[in-house]
Symmetry: C2
Subunit: 143 residues, 2 copies
DNA sequence: ATTATTTCCTACCTCTGCGCTAGGGATGTA
DNA sequence: TACATCCCTAGCGCAGAGGTAGGAAATAAT
């Protein structure tokens, strides 16, 4: 499993906010109900998005969340990289690579690099706007 | 993590056998030593390859394993699909999909299908022969 | 026939991380 | 000042990854 529920939920939050865009803030409660996700769990996910300054937040009555920029400013990759510890398809490519001693004459290293690039490029090519109800201009991000 | 050590090891076994191809059988011990993998663990992985009829095996003295067909007959995908329970990047796409009730108006389903396809196509485009020491004709499987 | 070698089979163990729950504290708006 | 909402920490159950252990069955060489 490359992408956890955390990442998928984060994406759904972004889309939900994009589709309900306005000057007002949108409450956690509303998002949770529409998306059928536990409030408490969703809370922890949204907090990541706020910390990463992808969302504006406002506390108190009438508070909630709001996209900071327009939906086409956010690629799928940029969102997933906030919630997923790693999007690397194999352990060799993770941050703490610590390089295996065999890396030098490893027959498969280039293969994994290539796979990583393919995944990255695809996720980078789709924006939140592309995922909204009507789809965006292109609508051809599916191969 | 999309691809576990089991899958990576299986691939290395296939490459090792491809590079030491001959009429004779190659022992588990030899592979394990060259690849620096525990014999016992490797055993369980190789058994999957035998069961799937990708390898021939022979017991007793002088026994071991051997590729059934030539290295260019095996794509990376065909090997990984033997050891990995699922190569789906998200839970929604797994065998026991049991389809979430939201699938109908899910904004992200096509995204995941597209990602799955990109991964599948890439892994299907590379063969064991491509991964051998000198690389094969193409040698351009890295994007 | 016996022995050494090698594959086949079953069971089990530990550790990590995902997915989620719980309870409360802080802060701002009406 | 009351209440809606965000912020923070802790913990729990489960599944799967990664690996270990011990022996049974088959085969070749002696």
């Amino acid at each position: 499993m490359l992408i956890s529920t955390k990442g998928r939920y984060a994406l759904r939050v972004m889309i939900d906010l994009a589709e309900h865009q306005s000057d007002e803030f949108i409450s956690l409660k509303g998002i949770a109900q529409r998306q059928e996700i536990s409030e408490k769990y969703l809370e922890s996910i949204i907090r990541m998005l706020v910390k990463a300054k992808v969302l504006d937040s406002l506390r108190g009555k009438g508070g909630g969340y709001r996209l900071k920029k327009s939906p086409d400013h956010y690629t799928v990759y940029s969102i997933l990289s906030l919630t997923e510890d790693s999007l690397a398809p194999v352990a060799c490519l993770e941050e703490n690579a610590s390089g295996c001693s065999r890396a030098g004459n490893c027959r498969t290293f280039k293969l994994w690099q290539g796979l990583d690039k393919v995944i990255h490029d695809y996720l980078e090519s789709v924006t939140i706007a592309d995922l909204m109800e009507q789809g965006a201009a292109g609508d051809d991000y599916v191969i």
